[in-house]
Structures are given as C-alpha cells and as structure tokens.
Symmetry: C2
DNA sequence: GGCAACACGCAAGAATCTTGCGTGATTTTG
DNA sequence: CAAAATCACGCAAGATTCTTGCGTGTTGCC
C-alpha cells in the first residue's frame, strides 16, 4: 500500500489526468503520462487499492436538472459533546438536500453543502428541519450566486 | 439538447449510477439500468452533449497525499460592485490552495474551499494572500475536523 | 388507418482491457 | 565487487468492451 512517499512523477501525472477526466481510457492515459498501457493500468489499480483514488464520479449540472438552489449552511450547536456531534452528523445523512457535510472548528460546528429545487424547498428545509432539530443553536445560510472556481479536490504543486 | 423534462426513469438511473461510479463500463451500466449496451451508450452521450453530465472526476484521498488541512473561508469585501466581485473571483483562480469558490449572498461575499499540506501553509495563505488582498474586509475561517457526509452533487428524490 | 419519429436490440468490426512473459535497470546481499 | 533478487517496463495475445449500422416494434399524429 504505497503512501505519498512512494509516488513518482508518473503517478502524480496519472492523478492529475484522472482528476481532470476520470473516464479517460487507459491507452489515452498511458500516452499522456508517457508509458505504455499495461504498466499504466497497473499503476492506476495500485492507486485505487491503496485508497489514494477513492473513486470516480460523474459531475452533474444541477440547474439543468431543475435544481436551482445551491447553498451552504453553518450550524452551531448548543452542546458539543462527542455524542451530540455524532447525533447531528448522523442526522445530516438522512437529509437528501444535504450533499456534503463537514464537522468544523471555528464559529460554527458544522458546514452543510445543500442543493434544492427552488428557494421554497430550501427555506422549508431550513425552517422545518434544521432549526427545529434538537440542540441546534444557530443557523447561518449563504445562498450561492455562482460558482467561481471548480477544480478537483487536490492541487498539484507536488513533484 | 434534452432538458429535465425530457429525462425518463432510465436516464435518472444512469445519472445515479454514474454519480456513484463514474468509471463503470457501459455494459455494467446497461445491465444495472435494464437496457442493452448500445442504447445505454447513446443515452450517456446524449446526457454528456446536453451538458447534464459535466464531466468525470477521480476522487482523491487528500490526507494520503500529504494534504492534511481542509478548510473553508468566508470572505467579505468592502465594495461589492460588479467589477470588484469579478476581480476577486479572478484572483481565487490563481490560488492553488483554493479548490472551489462560490460567490454567495448573506453575511459574506465569497466562500472558498481550501486544501493545504499543513496548518502553516494554510495560515500563511490566509495572512499573506487573503487578508492582504485589496478590498478584502473580513475573513472567517472554518477548519474541517472530518467529513461527515459525501454524496454527489445531486440528489435523487426525482422520478 | 397510415405514416413519421423514435428507441430498442442484434450483430460485427474496431478499440480497449487484461494477463503472462521476457528484458533491462536498480538495489540488496554475500 | 560481483551475484542475486527485485522491480517496472514493454510486447503480444486472448477476452472484453466499445461503437456503428441496421431491422423491428411502439408511440403519436395526421
């Protein structure tokens, strides 16, 4: 199971390319990184098995699917004991509107990335679900106007 | 160019499956959605050409790559005229630490999703880059403790 | 009732994936 | 220092998948 230290320049190129286009064929990938197809495929599989590549995902166009509202919610809880943090985290998994959620430190305890069909749906989620959840203290929302940058998760100033 | 209204149940299944595993072979996908491979591939291509599938991306394991800090920054500007918003948006694209950025409404003007190798790198980004950028008024940061939910962008209570 | 439009499934050729194997380079070991 | 071991590469071939063209059945609309 290779770690960061075991990755060479070709591995980094593979990661960069697959982050840019996760459905690229292996032959295309192999020519881009400068080796032949078989060792390239072996490297990709090793990266997958090591958990460095966590998976692949299609990126969907939310507005085209009738999902016009993307928003972030910052949640502060009254009590931050471990059990209560876990309880709230579990609850986020049951809300389909919440796509990603993070436990954070700072002024808030959780940050929720939400997608809804329209403003009404988002507002009723905030009022009927979020603020009425036990132990929820503060809810601050930030409606997104537009996405300004959209790279992958990981940057590559690395070797 | 099909819109939401033109999608049937099979299209929604395709989107769900590819959001779960963007590198699935077309024959696997076709059996999962219950049609044969050729029409399935035609549907996927139509979804891509319509812009409903925006692309595919490998998901990487940031900690395994030596990127231990994931954080969000909420930025408030002094002046929010269109030109100034564009200027700041452009600037986010030049910062490798910033992976996604959104223009938002609410208490802040921008929300930045950042990934850094360690706390020091993130702190010097905040101090030397962010707060010293002209027109930046407030910077609130939220360091992530752990990811609590990680679905794709789009939910599927849809048909 | 007939016609056009559409999507499906089959089939075949092209491309890709996948595995085994031999070679050469680097590292480890005696 | 030399021999052996390890490793990753590239080639080649069989299996799988992709991709296209075509015929058929269904649906909707004259």
């Amino acid at each position: 199971m290779p770690l960061k230290a075991d990755l060479d320049a070709i591995d980094w190129k593979i990661l960069r390319e697959l982050q840019g286009d996760g459905r690229m064929t292996n032959v295309e990938l192999s020519t881009r990184v400068g080796i032949s197809a078989p060792p390239c495929l072996r490297r990709v599989k090793r990266l997958e098995e090591a958990g460095i590549i966590r998976g692949y995902r299609a990126l969907l166009n939310a507005p085209a699917l009738g999902l016009d509202v993307v928003a972030f919610c910052l949640i502060g809880l009254h009590h931050q004991a471990d059990a209560e943090l876990r309880t709230f985290a579990e609850r986020t998994r049951g809300w389909p509107i919440v796509r990603d959620a993070w436990m954070v430190s700072g002024e808030s305890d959780f940050l929720l990335h939400c997608v809804a069909s329209d403003l009404g749906a988002f507002q009723s989620f905030v009022i009927e679900e979020l603020t009425s959840t036990p132990n929820v203290d503060t809810v601050r929302t930030a409606l997104t106007i537009r996405r300004v940058k959209d790279e992958g998760l990981v940057s590559f100033a690395q070797p």
